[in-house]
Subunit: 227 residues, 2 copies
């Protein structure tokens, strides 16, 4: 039996990364999930990420990151998280939930992990449409990082470079949910809310984008009690 | 009085990063040193880095990084560190001391730190000549990362991008030592040896390159007892 190629999956516990994990598995990769505990306001998404990895029969590794600096409302409880914004408002400017260079840090770790296990691909569930206007979620950013990865790793130099794969990059939230449904992603295990309450707050950017996506896809969100 | 621009300096405690710190200070930057505790075999270089930062009247921040994977003889005590290699042998292939994607991780943190304090530059003392053949020490790698940084940060998007500056990139070890001497870098506080003994081992790649550099510069290394 041919050995499946190894991939590292950046897994946050949200809809996007969960769909990306199930996509990578369907593509035939042996998946190694990388989960970050980076001082986010709540640990709920970490627990969800671990459960999602188990459901996808994948390995998971939690890496603890300490950023001694603040500058994001996702890290600093003294800063308010934006609420009740329209999709247009959400996309207009980079919000306070932006964590400086977060994806750059995450991908850097993923490349290191990939080299240590000989993985050929890093999957990240970023997408630009219906997203929160983060600069490090854009296609051209990942394109530039691909070149950095090729030049800055042993595998890249030896011609067995690590591919940075963003399968959702051009998708809307609706399309991601449709893909996730087709891949049988257990949506009830995912967590999108910026808060870690017993149920989603329904008013942060992340909840609002999720709600819009499920509505447009015509699918019920299992996390929301249906009327 | 005009406020000096902020810079983040990647400081390891070695000759190269110490010289880079004193160079950045001379260039008029207000320096914020970023020191990594990444599970290297010994902590000696961290202590030296802190002392060097104090001597340069700069702030310093130590970030603890845990890489749950191994793959480098700098991290894994079970792997031997290469010894007694000639400069030609050192440059021939990527050695076991290569830490997967290390500079990519370091620069990612430096970008995050820069954004949190509004710094305009990241200084890194990498150089390709007389180095250990690491892929992430090459000019073209930093060039690619510059583009990644521009596209992946809020400051880059807003046109106040963070410049990745590698002042030593084309220098030989001899030239770095000459520059350091001119900048009055306290060489006796630097530490290059891959081991953390009371005096340098004299046989690891790092000691050999340092010895060669001091000899070529015609300067005595204050860490080595002179005959």
């Amino acid at each position: 039996m041919k050995k499946r190629p190894q991939a590292v999956i950046l897994l946050s516990g949200g809809l996007d990364s969960a769909t990306t994990l199930f996509f990578a598995r369907r593509e035939g990769y042996d998946c190694n999930c990388l989960i970050f505990d980076y001082g986010q306001r709540h640990k709920k998404e970490i627990a969800r990420a671990r459960r999602l990895a188990r459901r996808a029969r994948s390995r998971s590794t939690v890496v603890r990151i300490s950023l001694p600096w603040k500058g994001s409302s996702l890290l600093d409880r003294k800063l308010p998280i934006p609420e009740r914004r329209t999709p247009r408002e959400i996309q207009k400017k980079i919000p306070s939930t932006y964590v400086p260079a977060r994806n750059t840090i995450f991908i850097a770790y993923a490349l290191s992990y990939s080299e240590s296990i000989g993985a050929r691909a890093v999957f990240i569930g970023a997408h630009a449409q219906d997203s929160s206007g983060y600069p490090d979620c854009r296609k051209k950013y990942f394109h530039a990082f691909q070149e950095t990865a090729r030049l800055g790793t042993r595998q890249g130099v030896e011609g067995k470079g690590i591919e940075i794969i963003t399968p959702l990059i051009t998708m809307s939230k609706r399309e991601i949910i449709e893909l996730g449904a087709a891949l049988q992603v257990p949506f009830r295990l995912t967590w999108s809310c910026y808060y870690g309450g017993s149920s989603p707050c329904g008013v942060c950017d992340s909840c609002l984008l999720r709600k819009k996506g499920f509505k447009e896809a015509g699918i019920d969100d299992p996390l929301i009690a249906q009327e």
